[in-house]
């Protein structure tokens, strides 16, 4: 029994994307509730139809959401372990529950609010643990410091350059400029990129995603029920999660063998995704690639097989990921680099828009969209949406 093609996304709801701290005085649960209300309305369902919750990265308090929104009963409430790597995979968790008959209408939720704790210094909010002493002592305060270590090794081993990182930042910004919901819509030139301050060499300001607030919810149900609802069903063609032991706690551990250190940690997830869906990279029309840091877009393009290991830099330099003329338009909503960082959920939202055919930057005739979860501690995850 497979989940491939058995469920569909039938509703999407989103709050606006706010610059860090600007969503106050709303609380994070309030933002999540607003996203759920909007998703239910989009689907043409009733709040009382929801009978399941799927989340990731710490999730949210299901009983609070039930009491607040008047959801009478749930039959399934589960969460992927890890952090942003699970965003795409939470859709698969919902699908698995539905295919197994554990729930009928599952809402997948994600959100972030950075008023109290910036993501850029997130490890300062972690409890000191014995096994974390080494990265703390090294001054690895935020994810950017950690991903800079991966990026520099990729540059050393493969000849990847800052020009390649710049192309990811610039192509993503171009998409944001023509997307009404994107937070940063001013032009970004190559000169701007190279004039920007280094934050954690080799990563400069424009290699980092935004720090923002917001919440997004998507509603998953069976393919049969989806056909009776008001929106065109966006079929979950496949969804996988996991990772290899060598990747381990990834950034908090850094002991990956070199062949895994150079990846985004997504190799096994990608292998399983193509196996589960019967698809191959060349079938994909548009990709929403988790872009917390530009080098990780390059590494994921390699892991998912759009190019070979080490070829990601030249691949993006060829113009392949551009909306205008690229063979694989990437992060067509401006991504997390320029659109908004909602912990991976915006990638799912944009994947749905592309398959519905109503995206702001619509890839003509898009029938298959890849959505990935962020390189981080296991699990990573990935999703293919189709018509």
């Amino acid at each position: 029994m497979s989940i491939a093609g058995r469920t569909a996304i039938v509703g999407v709801g989103s709050t606006p994307y706010y610059k860090r701290g600007r969503s106050a005085p709303q609380t994070l649960p309030e933002l999540v509730c607003k996203a759920i209300i909007a998703a239910v309305e989009d689907a043409g369902l009733s709040m009382t139809d929801i009978d399941g919750f799927a989340s990731y990265s710490g999730g949210f308090d299901t009983p609070y959401l039930m009491e607040t929104l008047g959801i009478p009963e749930v039959r399934f409430t589960s969460m992927l372990t890890g952090s942003g790597g699970g965003s795409a995979g939470a859709v698969g968790l919902a699908s698995a529950a539905i295919v197994a008959g554990l729930a009928d209408v599952v809402v997948v939720i994600g959100g972030v609010q950075q008023a109290l704790q910036r993501f850029g210094s997130v490890t300062q909010s972690y409890e000191s643990l014995p096994e974390n002493a080494w990265y703390e002592a090294a001054g690895l305060v935020g994810p950017g410091h950690m991903f800079a270590l991966l990026a520099r090794r990729h540059m050393h081993r493969y000849g990847t350059t800052r020009e390649h990182f710049a192309e990811v930042a610039i192509s993503t910004r171009l998409n944001a400029m023509s997307h009404p919901d994107a937070l940063i819509r001013k032009p970004l030139t190559r000169e701007d990129y190279f004039a920007a301050p280094m934050l954690s060499d080799p990563l400069c300001l424009f290699d980092f995603c935004l720090e923002s607030d917001g919440a997004i919810a998507v509603i998953v149900t069976s393919i049969e029920r989806a056909r009776d609802l008001r929106r065109k069903p966006v079929v979950v063609r496949g969804c996988t999660q996991g990772g290899e032991a060598g990747w381990g706690r990834s950034l908090y551990w850094m002991n990956m063998p070199e062949d895994q250190f150079l990846t985004s940690g997504n190799r096994s997830v990608a292998r399983d995704l193509w196996r589960q869906t019967g698809l191959q990279p060349s079938d994909i029309d548009v990709a929403q690639i988790y872009d917390h840091f530009t080098p990780m877009v390059i590494a994921q393009l390699e892991d998912f097989g759009f190019c070979g290991p080490g070829e990601g830099g030249p691949f993006v330099a060829s113009g392949a990921i551009r909306f205008d003329g690229g063979s694989l338009p990437v992060n067509t909503d401006g991504g997390q680099l320029s659109g908004g960082y909602i912990w991976g959920m915006s990638h799912i939202r944009e994947g749905v828009a592309q398959i519905r055919g109503d995206a702001a930057n619509q890839v003509s005739g898009a029938r298959l969209a890849l959505v990935t979860g962020g390189p981080s501690s296991i699990p990573m995850s990935a999703l293919v949406l189709g018509d």
């Binding site: 014995p130 096994e131 002493a133 002592a137 090794r153 050393h156």
Partner: protein, 145 residues
Amino acid sequence: MAAIAQFPAESLFTLCTDAWTQPWWDAAREHRLTAPCCEDCGRFRMPPTPFCPHCRSQRLRWPTLSGRGTLFSYTVVTRAVIPAMENCIPYVPALVDLDDAPGARLTTAIVGVPIDAIAIGAAVTVVFEDRSDGVVVPRFTLATA
């Protein structure tokens, strides 16, 4: 004149140990660099954990290492994202493969050398930072410096 790699601020880090990590920090206090080696299969690992991932043994020995290593990767932190970082930039978090503990890669920092001179593959050697709170943190410097 190139900037010199600083020591990451003491206030960024409060030591917390358990039975499995304590011997590493005890050795550092004696200015010895060590890494846990499985007593049964002879393989090294970092950070120290309760089981050998290769053979599940819980038996460990803590050999004194030469302190020599090879720089696997590094970053130069040039922007303070929290106030505690303001007086220690630039600093250079680094990953060092320990020459005589194959399989153990240490997350550490390169200190006291011109940043321009730092490169992946460089030979590095341990130095010990004696902190005001009594904790000793092994750092690395270029072997040729």
